[in-house]
């Protein structure tokens, strides 16, 4: 059951794309996402330059950004991308908790997994679905980035090339950032009984988990290390471009691997 056949893995991954773009529910999610991002592009991103460089707000912005470690972002000539980066870095992980809430749990309840498991190994199904979600998120990130660069180029066409270069880097970091969030939902899909329950479990994990770890590390500081079990632990540092390579890439990748291995172990032993 641990066998991974690349062709079957690819088939399952690509099938996930049709789930988002060819089903009513998927298209509704895409429509809601598009409207949200149109508003984001129109207001915070579209007006980023005037907000960041206006004489009245510049001093305040610099002070606030400095305090929260974001002062490097103010130096970007592509102000739209700086605003995009801040919004996307926090919104995509939250969005993917909902988008990726039903990876296998619905099919398991309906019995559809019984048809699938006679044609693909459980590992292929699990990882295929995970990769499918990664692909969907990557496509959505690409679309929003292209729209942001278009907004940027509309304001100042000379920034198009540098904007494209920077958006490639941002794309890479955003995809790496959402990986452990998707993997967390993959893991929760192996133990929950419904997609709604996976979302509730994810929220409880972050809310209650953070409280528990805070209390524990208040009693004994060494427990602060437990913060590394939470996807997004590095977000604050990454947002201001102050994180080292291990924090910005190593931590999310490690979390992803651990969550996927745990999910695979549980799923390969569970009853369908």
């Amino acid at each position: 059951m641990t066998q991974l056949n690349p062709k079957r893995l690819l088939n399952i991954t690509l099938f996930e794309l049709t789930r988002l773009f060819l089903t009513k529910r998927g298209l509704l999610a895409v429509a809601a996402f598009t409207i949200c991002w149109l508003l984001i592009l129109r207001y915070p991103v579209g007006q980023a330059v005037s907000t960041m460089s206006s004489p009245e707000l510049a001093a305040v912005a610099q002070h606030i950004f400095g305090v929260i470690g974001l002062s490097k972002l103010l130096m970007w000539p592509e102000a739209e991308l700086a605003m995009y980066w801040l919004i996307a870095l926090y919104s995509f992980p939250i969005f993917c908790l909902f988008l990726c809430s039903d990876q296998i749990v619905g099919d398991r309840q309906r019995g559809t997994l019984r048809f699938l498991s006679l044609r693909a190994t459980r590992t292929e199904i699990l990882f295929g679905r995970f990769l499918g979600q990664v692909l969907i998120l990557a496509i959505l990130i690409t679309i929003t980035l292209v729209a942001t660069v278009a907004t940027l180029a509309f304001r100042e066409s000379s920034l198009l090339l540098s904007g494209l270069n920077r958006s490639l880097v941002l794309f890479f970091y955003l995809v790496v950032t959402v990986l452990p969030f998707i993997a967390l939902m993959t893991f929760l899909n192996t133990i929950a009984r419904s997609s709604r329950l996976t979302v509730i479990m994810a929220i409880l994990f972050f809310a209650v988990g953070n409280i528990v770890v805070s209390l524990m590390s208040w009693q004994l500081p060494i427990f602060a290390i437990l913060n590394y079990i939470f996807p997004g632990v590095q977000l604050e540092q990454v947002a201001g471009q102050n994180a080292d390579l291990f924090s910005s890439i190593g931590i999310p990748l490690l979390q992803t691997v651990v969550l996927l291995v745990a999910a695979q172990r549980i799923f390969s032993r569970s009853s369908l």
Partner: protein
């Protein structure tokens, strides 16, 4: 005949409940195999073990030399699991094509295979519809169709005709009968008459144990029994038939149904019996050479 399935000392425990208790059997390539038993006997548990959906608590199970769920069985073994449904968000053809692709067919081959199996179950016209748009019976037939994708060697159908109207149940039986040259079917059903028509081998599960494991057409066992079903009740049937020279014993197995045990040496006993019935003015509905499957399973202790 090559062995397809070999089970040895197979047990499955759910908490305190022993669903399967040291079950051993062998299925060879050939005629359909029936899996019968009352509700809760362990039929679906055995199906789930054969498909690799659950793991046995103890014992071994080998399907054409592989463990259940092994990738070597993809495309060779297929199943209609009880109550499993296709995803209602996709069209039926889209999902069946996807299943074909997973089994190693190209996109084009998968598309024509999806249509072929839908035609087999008489539902080619619903290919573009979603499973939610179909009736219960149509959904069942579509899921039977998915079990036929890629012409598998072993097809397991759990309660395939349950919930189907008589016409479509008959079509499914005909389908199984027609395809039984290409694939070995394992069928579970409560309809013993249906299984009797289709199957050669019967696995009878009761309280987690296999209590029957015999071929329905076993000549040694059936050649000196006849089961006759009359159209109505007639007085003193047992005593009357008992008076025939070759008859050893007559007993009523069910209402209007009698089992006649006769001497093996008696030739053309069936003709003699029917002539006798005609003389007596008894109208018969059915004559079975041997025991009916129902009697074999449920009333054998009377014999």
């Amino acid at each position: 005949m090559s062995t397809l399935i070999q089970a040895n000392g197979l047990s499955k425990q759910y908490g305190a409940k022993l669903a399967l208790d040291q079950v051993s059997f062998e299925v060879k390539k050939g005629a359909p195999v029936a899996l019968v038993g009352p509700n809760g006997a362990g039929k679906t548990t055995l199906f789930s073990l054969l498909c690799g959906y659950i793991m046995p608590t103890s014992g071994s199970l080998s399907i054409v030399g592989h463990r259940p769920g092994a990738s070597a069985l993809f495309g060779k073994l297929s199943a209609l699991p009880q109550d499993a449904q296709l995803d209602p968000r996709f069209s039926i053809a889209h999902q069946l094509t996807f299943y074909g692709q997973l089994q190693g067919l190209t996109t084009k081959q998968s598309q024509s295979e999806a249509l072929r199996v839908l035609e087999l179950v008489g539902l080619a016209e619903v290919a573009k519809q979603r499973s939610d748009d179909l009736s219960h019976g149509m959904r069942k037939r579509v899921t039977i169709g998915q079990a036929l994708i890629g012409k598998p060697e072993i097809v397991m159908l759990d309660e395939a005709t349950a919930g189907l109207d008589p016409i479509h149940a008959r079509e499914v039986r005909e389908l199984v009968s027609n395809l039984s040259e290409e694939a070995t079917f394992i069928l579970s059903s409560h309809d013993l008459t249906e299984l009797e028509r289709l199957c050669g081998q019967v696995l009878h599960l009761d309280k987690g144990k296999i209590t029957e494991h015999q071929a329905n057409s076993n000549i040694e066992q059936t050649q000196h029994h006849m089961t006759i079903l009359f159209a109505e009740n007639y007085p003193n049937i047992e005593q009357s038939i008992q008076s025939l020279a070759a008859v050893n014993r007559v007993y009523m197995s069910q209402a209007k149904e009698y089992v006649v045990e006769y001497q093996k040496t008696a030739s053309l006993f069936d003709i003699e019996l029917l002539k006798y019935c005609h003389q007596q003015g008894w109208r018969y509905r059915q004559l079975v050479n041997g025991h009916t499957l129902e009697n074999q399973i449920f009333t054998q202790e009377k014999i």
